[in-house]
C-alpha cells in the first residue's frame, strides 16, 4: 500500500527531567487523512519518540574560552 508518512519534531519541551536533559517529541502522521480530520482527531498525529537534547554545549565552550 502506498502510504506517505509525515514525521516532525517541534521545539516543544515536554519536561525538564533529570538534570540538564530535555526531551523533544517526534510526531508521526499519515498523509491520507483529510485535513479536517487531521486537525480535529487526536488519533491522526501520534508521538513516536522523545529525543534527549543536551543543553549545555555552548555554555561550556564559552566558559572554557574565558
Amino acid at each position: 500500500m502506498y502510504c506517505p508518512v509525515i514525521v516532525g519534531s517541534d521545539k516543544t519541551t515536554v519536561s525538564v527531567a533529570m538534570g540538564q536533559v530535555e526531551y523533544h517529541p517526534v510526531y508521526f502522521s499519515i498523509s491520507g487523512i483529510h485535513n479536517t480530520v487531521q486537525q480535529a482527531h487526536c488519533g491522526a498525529v501520534s508521538p513516536g519518540a522523545f529525543l534527549a537534547i543536551p543543553k549545555c554545549v555552548y555554555i561550556e565552550i564559552y566558559m572554557i574560552n574565558c
Binding site: 500500500m1 502506498y2 502510504c3 506517505p4 508518512v5 509525515i6 514525521v7 538534570g19 540538564q20 536533559v21 526531551y23 517526534v26 508521526f28 502522521s29 499519515i30 498523509s31 491520507g32 487523512i33 483529510h34 485535513n35 479536517t36 480530520v37 487531521q38 482527531h41 488519533g43 491522526a44 501520534s46 508521538p47 513516536g48 519518540a49 522523545f50 529525543l51 534527549a52 543536551p54 549545555c56 554545549v57 561550556e60 565552550i61 572554557i64
Partner: protein
C-alpha cells in the same frame, strides 16, 4: 533584441534576457495551478506502458505530469465533490505499475482497493469484517484467573511487589495440594506479562546513548552524560493509524489534482499537493 526563444515546443515567444525567459517558463509552462485536462486514453492495468514513462525521475520532473481520470468505484464516489473534478495520479492509482530504474523494482502502488496481500479486489467488494478478539481470548494472560489477579493487585489493591509475592506464595501452597501452580511465579513475572499486554497504544521502548570517544579531564559535561531516547515502533504506529475506523470516508488512498467548476486548481488535503 528578442533573440532567446522559448524552449517549450509550440511556444512562439522570444525574450531579451535569460531572466525574462525563466519568468515566462515559470509563469506559463511550470505553473502548477494550470492543469491540462485533455483526455488521455485509458489503458487496462495489464497493458505495459511506454518505457520512458516508467522512470520515476522523469515523471517527477516533467512539466506537465501525465494524468488520467480515476476509475469509478462505489467507495471513491464518497469523496468525490459534486461540483468539481478530481484527477488522480497515473502511476499511483493502479493504472500502471511503477518501476524504479535502474534496479527495476516492481512496486504496485495503487489507490484501488486490495486485500492484505496487495491483490486487487473487484470493484464494489465489501471490506472484510473487522476481527474482534473472541471473548475467551485472554492473551497474553493464560486465563481469566491470571488476568483478574494482575488487574486486582496492580490496579485495585495496588499491592507492592513483596506483598504480591507473599500472596502468590500462599496461593502456591494451596495449589500444591492439587499439584498445580499459582497464577504467577513472582511479581516480576506478573509485571512482564502486564508490560507485554497489547491493547490500545503501541508500547514505548527506550535505549541509552552516550559519547563513545575519549573522555579527558577537559571534556565538556555533555560528553560524560548518558541520554535516554524513548521511542515506539514507527511501523506499528502507522499500522495503528491505518487501522483506525474513525478515518473511514475521510481518507485519500492516492495523490490527486482537484479542479473546481472553472478549472482552477483547488488545494485542500495533503494528497492534493504537488509533493504527494
Amino acid at each position: 533584441m528578442h533573440n532567446i526563444p522559448c524552449m517549450v515546443a509550440g511556444c512562439p515567444c522570444h525574450f531579451k534576457s535569460q531572466g525574462g525567459h525563466t519568468n515566462h517558463v515559470q509563469t506559463h509552462h511550470e505553473n502548477h495551478n494550470i492543469v491540462s485536462t485533455q483526455p488521455i486514453p485509458t489503458s487496462t492495468f495489464n497493458e505495459q506502458p511506454e518505457p520512458e514513462s516508467l522512470c520515476l525521475n522523469d515523471n517527477l520532473h516533467s512539466p506537465s505530469p501525465p494524468l488520467s481520470p480515476r476509475p469509478q468505484s462505489p467507495c471513491h464516489t464518497l469523496s468525490q465533490p459534486s461540483n468539481g473534478l478530481k484527477i488522480f495520479h497515473l502511476d499511483l492509482t493502479g493504472m500502471y505499475i511503477l518501476i524504479i530504474q535502474p534496479h527495476i523494482i516492481l512496486i504496485p502502488c495503487k489507490g484501488t482497493p486490495c486485500d492484505e496481500n496487495e491483490n486487487p479486489l473487484e470493484l464494489g467488494t465489501p471490506p472484510p469484517p473487522r476481527s474482534n478478539a473472541a471473548n475467551d481470548n485472554w492473551s497474553p494472560y493464560v486465563d481469566e484467573v491470571q488476568f483478574r489477579f494482575a488487574n486486582f493487585t496492580s490496579q485495585s489493591a495496588e499491592l507492592s511487589g513483596l506483598n504480591c509475592n507473599e500472596l502468590l506464595d500462599i496461593w502456591a501452597l494451596d495449589k500444591m495440594k492439587h499439584n498445580e501452580l499459582a497464577p504467577f511465579a513472582s511479581f516480576e513475572h506478573m509485571y512482564a506479562i502486564i508490560n507485554s499486554t497489547k491493547h490500545g497504544d503501541v508500547p514505548w521502548q527506550s535505549f541509552k546513548i552516550s559519547w563513545v570517544g575519549e573522555i579527558t579531564p577537559d571534556s565538556p559535561m555533555w560528553q560524560r552524560e548518558e541520554y535516554e531516547i524513548c521511542y515506539r515502533n514507527p511501523n506499528a504506529i502507522i499500522q495503528d493509524m491505518l487501522d483506525n475506523p474513525n478515518f473511514n470516508g475521510q481518507f485519500d488512498y492516492a495523490p490527486y489534482v482537484e479542479l473546481d467548476k472553472s478549472g482552477k486548481r483547488r488545494w485542500n488535503n495533503f494528497m492534493s499537493g504537488n509533493f504527494s
